[in-house]
């Protein structure tokens, strides 16, 4: 039996899907979390029959007339795949709007079962819905559910029974009898049908619902929104929230938890070191100890900090705050030809750029979709957090403003880049962002913990696979020269790795980090961004970055600078460079799939490279000017390179593109 799970965005479909199947798909307290259909079987504890019940979780839709790509997935599935039963999730707190889609689903002739979800919120808001009467009016079973709740009282077993009953009855679903609903073809006819539909729904809602509109929680939510979603106050509040998240993860709770973790890694390092003793060949000794254990350990050491950050971000999302951020940013995004809808992929990108890029498919306008896919990787993803934590910890005394300012810089870069791309493409079309703000709710610690554990698991898998292999290769490449002779520890500049990275390091001189180890780390960062930390650990033979005391106690910041050979301004420039150059290859692959154009893909990679280089140049040169009173090394050659890049962008903006503009205008107008 195939069951289609359909309903409005943010009605709780994925939460119900997880509760029915036992899966742990990502749930977000905002619309548009699901952009592809997902399948799972109803778990044994709920399904008493021998029949296999497969549930397909579809992206949210407001109607059967698709306006976005994810709505098309829903419509196509329901219309073409002909599921045995449609499980329609209706948001009990927003009955009149939800029933519009329900009325259309009833017209498909497939048995419909309505899950009246979020019933618990109705109880709190003193809204009463007569379920029996609603079932009678809709000609289908209606079951009260609370998908977020465990135990027998969540209504899930009654729901599964109702689905099974509807499946066995094999009766054709009756519609609400709205005249011409099936035959309406023209825009005017559809409009008339929609008007009738609204009237029928309004009469049903009037009969079945007793609503207490002025509930205290609504007043409270509105009052909070007036502050956090305020057009001016919203921005400093967002900065403060991000600063708090970074402080918690990188200064307060994160390092405290990391201490225990780092102790384990140090213990393993010491154990293996003593077990090997002096009898093992030095090449094998350093490959296992410095390359594998040291390199992977340096990355894994940041795991507690990342887990705290992801946990806090998941709580913020669950409480409903992230949806408000989208609204606050919409004003700025509209000015650059994007909409608040572009914010969602960018917020998703703070976890990982790949789903962020994939989430752009919810944007209908092609230029906006491509621009968002191109700019989303600028947001600091989870893999970039160890780099932020490393440099803010060592060079800036664990200052949370480093991470916060990187987020803010990313937003500024996105806004400026959006404007540049808009000018280059010549597309001046605007779109409007309508987002239903989810109600504030008490965040679920369980959901946030699951989200955090998922990401932590993936981080560990990545450290144990790609990063481990990369570090082993880096260790070997820096151990041997091209004649495959071991280079001495005092002469690592003769190694294969140094000879590959040195020409690239030459290009980084104007950025303040023209050292081959930094170039090598930046290159391996394209395989996975965590590699930047791992490679620095291997090439500088530092086993443990997280224990900053270990480094600091040796001789304070000066000692650290001596190990790295750069100052704090160059360190900040290196951080900016790694954050704003192209993402890892996997994310570039996702960009390739979503951009659907080689021209856009190579343009995006070139733009990201140019942005990273230019920003790092300005940070280093002007930072040096500010701190020492004169520009840093190789200012003039760097300035020529940056001017050439900016000049090329200006050329692209100024070049004639009349034909392109006309065709786009026609397309938008149509």
């Amino acid at each position: 039996m195939k069951i289609a799970l359909a309903g409005n965005p943010n009605s709780g479909k994925t939460t119900l899907f997880n509760a029915l199947t036992g899966k742990i798909e990502h749930v977000g307290n905002w619309p548009g979390v699901t952009v592809e259909k997902k399948e799972g079987s109803i778990k044994r504890s709920l399904n008493g029959s021998s029949e296999k019940m497969t549930v397909v979780d579809l992206p949210g839709a407001y109607s059967c007339s698709p306006y976005t790509q994810e709505e098309s997935i829903t419509k196509d599935f329901v219309m073409k795949e002909q599921p045995d039963v449609i499980l329609n999730i209706v948001d009990a707190t927003n009955l009149s709007r939800s029933l519009f889609f329900t009325s259309q689903l009833l017209e498909l002739g497939i048995p419909v079962v309505v899950a009246l979800n979020k019933s618990d919120l109705n109880v709190k808001q003193k809204t009463v819905i007569d379920t029996l009467l609603l079932s009678e009016k809709l000609h289908c079973p209606v079951v009260d559910t609370v998908a977020t709740k465990g135990g027998a009282s969540n209504g899930l077993s009654q729901l599964v029974q109702a689905i099974f009953g509807a499946y066995l009855s094999k009766e054709k679903q009756r519609s609400l009898g709205i005249r011409n609903a099936q035959t309406a073809a023209t825009k005017e006819e559809v409009q008339k049908v929609d008007e009738k539909r609204f009237k029928v729904i309004a009469s049903i809602v009037k009969e079945v619902e007793r609503r207490n509109v002025h509930s205290s929680s609504q007043k409270m939510g509105d009052a909070i929104d007036r502050v956090v979603a305020h057009k001016w106050l919203g921005i400093p509040i967002f900065v403060l929230v991000i600063w708090f998240v970074f402080s918690l993860s990188q200064s307060w709770l994160g390092p405290f938890l990391a201490d225990f973790f780092v102790g384990l890694i140090d213990g393993l390092y010491a154990l293996v070191d003593s077990a090997m003793g002096d009898s093992v060949n030095p090449v094998l000794h350093s490959l296992l100890l410095d390359g594998i254990i040291g390199g992977v350990g340096a990355v894994i050491g940041f795991l507690p900090l990342i887990m705290v950050l992801f946990f806090t971000l998941a709580l913020l999302e669950d409480v409903g705050y992230m949806a408000r951020v989208a609204v606050v940013m919409d004003r700025f995004f509209k000015k650059i030809g994007l909409s608040g809808k572009s914010i969602i992929p960018m917020i998703v990108s703070t976890g990982c750029a790949i789903p962020g890029v994939m989430a752009t498919r919810t944007i209908k306008n092609e230029r906006q979709r491509r621009t968002t896919a191109m700019l989303s990787p600028f947001m600091p993803c989870g893999a970039k957090l160890p780099i932020i934590a490393l440099f803010s910890g060592i060079f800036f005394n664990e200052n949370s403003w480093v991470g916060t300012s990187m987020y803010m810089l990313a937003i500024i870069v996105v806004i400026v880049s959006g404007l540049v791309i808009r000018k280059i493409t010549g597309d001046t079309s605007q779109s409007y962002f309508i987002m239903e703000l989810p109600e504030y709710r008490v965040p679920s610690v369980k959901r946030a913990a699951l989200s955090m554990l998922n990401r932590a698991k993936a981080f560990i898998i990545k450290a144990g696979t790609i990063i481990l292999v990369c570090n082993a290769v880096v260790q070997l490449l820096q151990t041997f020269n091209w004649s495959f002779q071991v280079v001495g520890e005092s002469n690592p500049g003769q190694s294969i790795l140094a000879s590959i990275a040195s020409p690239i390091a030459f290009l980084f001189i104007p950025l303040g980090f023209g050292i081959w180890q930094f170039a090598a780390a930046a290159i391996t960062g394209f395989i996975a961004k965590e590699n930047v930390v791992g490679t620095l650990a291997v090439t500088f033979a530092i086993t443990n970055f997280i224990d900053v005391e270990e480094l600091a106690l040796v001789g304070g910041t000066t000692e650290v600078m001596a190990v790295f050979g750069i100052g704090s301004v160059a360190a900040l420039a290196y951080l900016v460079f790694n954050l704003f150059t192209p993402p890892c290859f996997a994310a570039i692959g996702a960009m390739n799939a979503e951009l659907e154009s080689k021209k856009w893909l190579f343009g995006a990679i070139g733009y990201q490279l140019g942005t990273g280089y230019t920003l790092a140049f300005f940070v280093y040169q002007f930072g040096t000017l500010f701190t020492t009173g004169s520009f840093g090394t190789a200012f003039v050659p760097g300035l020529i390179a940056v001017a050439a890049m900016i000049g090329f962008i200006i050329y692209l903006i100024k070049r004639p593109k009349a034909v392109q503009s006309v065709s786009r205008t026609v397309k938008v107008g149509a």
């Binding site: 742990i24 798909e25 799972g40 296992l288 998703v348 976890g351 989430a359 696979t465 292999v469 996997a586």
Partner: protein
């Protein structure tokens, strides 16, 4: 003898890592490490097939 054991350990660890990378590649696992990924249900980073 010590060299052979260490070489064996390194070979085993790196071999297992490469095996996992190749297996993931075959299964089209994007290794995004993010539960928000729309490919989540098709990705055995989180769910075994």
């Amino acid at each position: 003898m010590g060299n052979i054991i260490v070489l064996g350990i390194i070979g085993l660890v790196v071999g297992l890592s490469i095996y996992k990378i190749v297996k993931d590649k075959k299964n089209n696992v994007k290794c995004s490490g993010c539960s928000a990924c729309p490919m989540n249900s098709n990705c055995n980073t989180h769910h075994s097939k």
